[in-house]
Amino acid sequence: MEQDIESAHKNGPLQGTIVNDFCMTICTVNGSGSATANTTLLRSLFHMGIPVSGKNIFPSNIKGLPTWFSIRVSKDGYLARVAHDDIIVQMNPMTFEEDLKYNVSGGVVFYADHINMTVDLDDVIVYPMPVKDLIKEADVPRNLQDYMQNMVYVGIVSQMLGIDLEVVHKSLLTQFEQKTSIADSNFAVVKLAAEWARDNLIKKDVYHVETMPPLDGYIMADGNMAGALGAIYGGFQFCGWYPITPATSLAESLNNFAPKLRKDPDTGKNNFAIVQAEDELASIGMTVGAGWAGLRSMTSTSGPGVSLMTEYMGLAYFAEIPLVLWNVQRVGPSTGLPTRTGQGDLLLDFYLGHGDTRHIVIIPSSVNECFEFGWKAFDISEQFQTPVIVLSDLDLGMNLWMTKEFQYPDKPIDRGKVLWEDDLENFKSEWGRYRDVDGDGIPYRTVMGNSHEKAAYFARGTGHDEFGNYSEDPDIWRQNLDRIKLKFENAREQLPKPVIHTQEGAKIGLIGIGSTEPATLEAQDKLLAKGIATDYMRIRALPTSKEVLEFIKSHERNYVIELNQDGQLRQILTTDYCEEISPLISLAYIDGLPMTANYIIQAVSEKEEI
């Protein structure tokens, strides 16, 4: 023990200080209740006005295995993952040695002093934490002692980095939904630990945090909750779902918020229904049924569930059923890495179904956008009478992000072309469920309960004419498919357009989707510093709009950044634009962790020979 303190001493204090710009990883075992502590630290930094992001790297397991929580503070507002740690908070003996590999030289290690250390810590600064003693001192009730150990490192780390304890207290209150008693009992331990640190540890390291101007207009939230809230403000009426990591918390958020927000003011009854199905074959079946019947219908799942939904999604495409499918991606193939993040379902989702099936896919990149697409998805699917897949991922869905606060929808709900009794009575021409009256490929639909004599029809996944009657006629088949394709092609320009970040005189294009955005924005800045100007286009929807082709053509080279092995986005872009495009170089990468700016910077620099 001593000898390690020694070693820290030996190094002596490093020169200078680093303020609001470092990455701290807290190493614990899962099921130990560290989540609250970690979020409290994260929130406290946020409350100090410091841009911050937290990423939870956890095992597919309930209790007892290593788990890591990385907090990045960045005065410049970079929220992407970084692969190294400046500070390690070590509560887990199992991974002590391994974790040190990620620690930068001159970095810091806080560790529970009951871990007996054998490792050599020459070039890091070490702060042992007398966790057990402090817990004893605080005399915490038996059953809470393990849990409260986490509050010890909250206190010590706060003290050593300069996190204002008042802010920590405030964060605890938010954490415990303003239940003061619990918040206070936690804070008591935090305070005790902070005071111990103040009196017993000498600051040797260079890392500090300082209050910055408040982050007005920002909140802390995760993408699944945001998606659920978006759906609620989008007027969702039915959700059939089945539990699966990392999508579960989306449906559970619906369960949590819908009863508060969507009871009928008059009757006090629910104007929505949520059903936990027996599996995904059933959850998608329910969702298709509800969508057909005229409800704003949704389901949420991840890769394995999407696979099971393939046949029903093909039916929904062909019978033209509006519905919203949230795919919160994890890493495949197969069961793969259930608790890691990726973007490997793009191809399957786009083509989901046998025969000639294609789906509209919209792809949020921020928690705020999860909310926005949460409500927009319904308008799009009902406008085009087809399923809309919202493609999120674990990093976006399950991690707590600082994000712009949710904006109330800027336009009223659009139910698309639905005809009730009167509409049918006054309809401009002969109505048939699958008749293209407006020339846009989008027919008018009626839904069950419509008592107009002409309203009823029998929907089916088999060949049908304009009136929904069974048909095997070759021409009728082809015309129907062509109309559906027309509808699909028309959608291109009406889906969320790409977001483009330009730089002066850039000849190189960066193209990506979803949660790789923070890493890419950071890479843009740093590549520029290295003399490589880039433009960055974040695609937000498939099929793509003309801006996408224009961007691709207007750059000498385009790099396609995505978290998968096969370069799936690149494949889709080439099939769309092969004849016309400049080179598309794939920067696909997958190992289950979020994208880092460094990977992009190195990959591009190499290829650009700089």
């Binding site: 409350h47 939904e177 909140i219 939230a221 809230l229 609620i232 403000y233 989008g234 007027g235 009426q237 039915f238 059939g240 927000l261 969507r262 009757t267 009854k269 629910n270 104007n271 229904a273 949520i274 059903v275 199905a277 027996e278 599996d279 074959l281 059933a282 959850s283 079946g285 329910m286 298709v288 049924g289 509800a290 969508g291 057909w292 019947a293 005229g294 409800l295 704003r296 219908s297 046949e311 039916l315 606060e405 949710f406 929808p409 009223p412 709900i413 139910r415 009626t446 839904v447 069950m448 309960g449 008592s451 004599e453 309203a455 009823a456 029998f458 929907a459 996944g461 009657n469 069974y470």
Partner: protein, 344 residues
């Protein structure tokens, strides 16, 4: 008797208003008889076709909804997965009557899981299995209800014990379980009426011979075998309201009544032995016995008129959700402000 074509029921509809397209099933297919009885039952019950919604899976049986209730909405879904689709749609308007048509392959082979979970949720709907022991539409392979030892062209002999739809429903806590036979239209019609009046999942296992692939007189799902071995539990009559009972029809003591959720009654006239369809235990025993003696046991096997349904659990508005105006679906801006506040 008066002219059936021009007669109207109390809501002013003729029998023709309940018909569908011309059947493309094989002449003599049991499924056609069932379609006819659905038409008659709905006509006689004065149900407005717009208040019924039809669902089916895939198979000859599942095609049949095209051939009745042409004025009702319907959806011909996927093989074995009609229950989930019906369940999702049902929420759009809980006032409508949901009618599901399936086959034995559709329900007992690929669909067994969804069938059992539908029953578990007790969604109010009439669920008919048109049971012929084979896959008709794919030309006569064994289904999971084919009896052990059944021999079919090009299929050899079936070595497996059959899945008994009624038993599966009972053990799964179904609130309404009946079995009937396409060769007994009258009983089928009365059972259909009872099913339409029951609040909960009404399972009707109807033996419906496939004349093209499984109608040899010595096989369980054939017309002849059915006629020779049918053992009705009772004479069943559906009575829309108590007032409507003409007492003479029944001598005291010989009848048992069950009052359904909508106030209608099922009147059961005793045959050989007493039978109480509200006793699940007896129901199982009868089925067991019937199997031993190779009877085709028909009638209302079990009913619990008061079991909770899925709707009870979800505390839904009675108003049709799919007619709710858009503005009522979106919470106020203030609520979102509060949420943003809570996430600092």
């Amino acid at each position: 008797m008066s002219d059936r074509r021009t007669d109207t029921n109390t809501i002013g509809l003729t029998r023709t208003d309940y018909r569908g397209k011309r059947s493309t099933l094989c002449p003599g297919c049991g499924h056609n008889t069932i379609s006819a009885q659905i038409i008659t039952a709905c006509y006689e019950m004065n149900i407005d076709p717009h208040e019924i919604v039809k669902f089916s899976g895939i198979g000859c049986s599942s095609k049949s909804p095209t051939y009745f209730l042409g004025q009702s909405f319907g959806f011909n879904g996927l093989h074995g997965r009609m229950p989930s689709m019906a369940l999702g749609a049902a929420f759009a308007n809980t006032g409508m009557k949901v009618l599901g048509i399936s086959g034995d392959g559709d329900t007992a082979s690929i669909g067994l899981g969804q069938f059992k979970h539908l029953i578990r949720r007790n969604l109010p709907m009439v669920y008919i299995v048109e049971n012929n022991g084979v896959y008709g539409l794919t030309k006569g392979q064994f289904s999971a209800t084919a009896e052990k030892g059944l021999a079919l062209k090009r299929q050899g002999e079936n070595p497996f014990l059959p899945i008994d739809i009624a038993k599966e429903a009972l053990i799964g806590n179904a609130s309404f379980v009946a079995r009937s036979f396409a060769g007994d239209p009258k009983q089928l019609r009365e059972l259909l009426k009872a099913a339409f009046s029951h609040r909960g999942t009404s399972v009707l296992d109807v033996i419906s011979p496939c004349v093209s692939f499984n109608n040899r007189e010595d096989t369980l799902h054939s017309y002849q075998w059915g006629r020779q071995h049918q053992a009705p539990l009772h004479d069943i009559a559906y009575v829309p309201t108590r007032r409507a009972i003409i007492l003479e029809e029944f001598n005291e003591g010989e009848i048992k009544e069950v009052t359904l959720h909508d106030g209608s009654l099922v009147v059961l006239k005793k045959l050989e032995h007493d039978y109480d369809p509200t006793d699940k235990w007896q129901a199982l025993r009868m089925l067991e016995e019937a199997e031993k003696n190779r009877w085709l046991l028909t009638g209302l096997i079990y009913i619990d008129p008061n079991q909770h349904t899925l709707y009870d659990y979800l505390d839904l508005t009675d108003e049709p959700l799919n007619r709710m105006s858009a503005d009522r679906l979106r919470p106020s801006p203030e609520t979102l402000q509060q949420i943003n506040q809570s996430m600092l």
